[in-house]
């Protein structure tokens, strides 16, 4: 059970959430979570519309709208005569915010976050590689300003985190691969509010993290693609390992 759901149960539903479109979205989120949790396993049919409507206390129109959204996210397939069938997980749109959020929330191990770090690390290392080849003076100035500023912000984790994201984003924009940046941004957007991912906000962690940033900046400024890629790889790995904790050895993070 996720924390947000626990909280949501105790609160009265805000009036605006009752508008049909928002209602459909709220029900979609609930259905996504049930599918991701395996309450409705892949290959099995979703309960029929009238039953769902009754269970949620909403009209069939709202249920139909919700099922349409599920279909767009790749979670169900509507088959003529066979009803609405839950699809195999490999067909789900994992980068969709609702799907990714539910996947992270329902994974008690750290496996999905490890995989997320691995994926992000691959793409960002390659983007640092490209950035080291193409970065001009303006980009280098911006990166250096951000690193210098972050040194001053180690006691202010929230503002530090904003600058941290700006630093990574500057490199991604410089590399110019819009799809790669899109993937990283989609992955990031669903974990910045996840306590297990963000870990404790501590001065020592900010200091260590910014040493990583400075090293990346220096390699990019030296137009050293291999060095920049390695620096990014090391930075993302180390920053995650200190936050990660967890009992099992992170074999998934091995290169």
């Amino acid at each position: 059970m996720t924390a947000s759901r626990e909280v949501a149960k105790g609160l009265p539903r805000p009036a605006r959430a009752r508008r049909p479109a928002n209602l459909a979205r709220a029900i979609t989120a609930e259905l996504v979570e049930r599918i991701v949790l395996g309450t409705y396993p892949p290959g099995s049919p979703l309960p029929p519309e009238p039953a769902l409507g009754e269970a949620f206390g909403v009209s069939r129109t709202v249920i139909r709208e919700a099922v349409k959204i599920l279909q767009e996210k790749g979670l169900v397939q509507v088959r003529q005569g066979a009803g609405t069938i839950v699809t195999a997980p490999s067909r789900w749109d994992m980068l969709d915010e609702v799907v990714l959020r539910a996947t992270i929330a329902t994974d008690d191990s750290l496996a999905i976050l490890d995989d997320l770090v691995v994926t992000r690390r691959l793409l960002e290392s390659d983007m640092a590689h490209v950035a080291a080849r193409v970065a001009g003076d303006e980009t280098l100035d911006r990166l250096r300003d951000l690193v210098d500023r972050m040194d001053e912000l180690v006691d202010d984790p929230l503002t530090y985190a904003e600058h941290d994201r700006a630093f990574h984003d500057t490199i991604m924009r410089t590399a110019g691969n819009r799809l790669a940046r899109g993937v990283v941004r989609a992955l990031e957007s669903q974990v910045v509010n996840t306590a297990r991912y963000m870990g404790r906000a501590e001065r020592a962690l900010c200091v260590a993290s910014n040493q990583g940033h400075r090293h990346i900046y220096e390699r990019i400024a030296a137009h050293d693609p291999e060095g920049a890629a390695t620096a990014m790889f090391t930075h993302i790995t180390e920053a995650w390992l200190v936050r990660r904790g967890g009992p099992e050895a992170p074999s998934r993070l091995r290169r």
Binding site: A21, E72, P89, S90, W92, D93, M94, L95, I112, D115, L116, V118, T119, L122, L123, D126, V130, R133, V134, R173, A175, G176, N177, R178, L179, A180, R181, G182, V183, A186, L187, R252, R254, R255
Partner: protein, 249 residues
């Protein structure tokens, strides 16, 4: 500033079913291809509903969908503005499909290939590191089917896809698999992704897959990564049409 009127000059043919889907597709295309440039205001609901021949409710619902895709920003009092391309959700299925359909001017297949090469090479490395007999058999079988064909055919192309999807699946990285797979399958639907035939295309494809399988068999992680990367980038470079609009880095 409003979008140039000519983009809305001719009324669209009316599609009675799934109106809002059609309107969303049309608006996404107008924005992604730059016919309504970044920062411009969208025409008001009235003219839009007239142009598309749909109710204002359908327009409102469609605008909301585009807002969710990061393509529009609705500001109280200032109207609806096309967002900067930096905040578009490039991975949204509709946005991605539109980008790929307009690859000739947008060059997105180059970017997609780089993302695939990064993810799939790492996944091939993981498969090599944790090689299993069953996994090896499945990959080898896909290659065998390609070989039996002797020349490019539907069956050989299908076996090619199976080869890649099997490596992704065996990697056990659900996220990387999911992302690479979705990008790959979407690209396969595009004619431009298949590009032009080149001499000895079939032979070199088979040979490159054989190198990947060989590296995985030997549990050589570095070689598995390199051969997969070289295969994906190399075969794209050989078959891609020149894209004058964008330089590839």
């Amino acid at each position: 500033m409003t979008a140039p009127p000519d983009a809305f000059a001719t009324p669209l043919r009316r599609r009675p079913d799934r109106l809002s889907v059609a309107v969303v597709l049309e608006l996404v295309e107008l924005i992604v291809t730059g016919q309504i440039p970044e920062g411009e205001l969208l025409p008001p609901e009235g003219p839009l509903s007239e142009h598309f021949g749909v109710s204002r409710t359908v327009i409102r619902e469609s605008v909301k969908r585009l807002e969710e895709k990061g393509l529009l920003i609705v500001t109280q009092g200032r109207g609806t503005q096309v967002a900067r391309s930096g905040s578009w959700n490039m991975l949204d299925p509709v946005v991605l499909a539109t980008l790929i359909d307009n690859d000739e001017s947008l060059g997105v297949l180059d970017e997609l290939t780089v993302v695939r090469a990064n993810l799939e090479s790492a996944m091939a490395g993981t498969v090599a590191a944790q090689r299993t007999e069953e996994g090896l058999t499945r990959i080898a079988h896909a290659l065998e089917v390609m070989r039996e064909q002797r020349q490019e055919s539907d069956a050989s192309r299908q076996a090619d896809v199976v080869f890649h999807l099997t490596v992704m699946e065996l990697s056990g990285n659900r996220l990387a698999e999911n992302i690479a797979k979705r990008l790959y399958l979407r690209a396969l639907e595009s004619n431009r992704f298949h590009g032009m035939g080149y001499e000895k295309a079939f032979e070199s494809t088979v040979d490159e897959h054989a190198l990947v399988l060989d590296a995985i068999t030997r549990q050589d992680v570095a070689a598995a990564e390199t051969t997969m990367r070289d295969h994906i980038l190399g075969s794209w470079q050989r078959r891609r049409f020149e894209s004058p609009a964008r330089d590839t880095p």
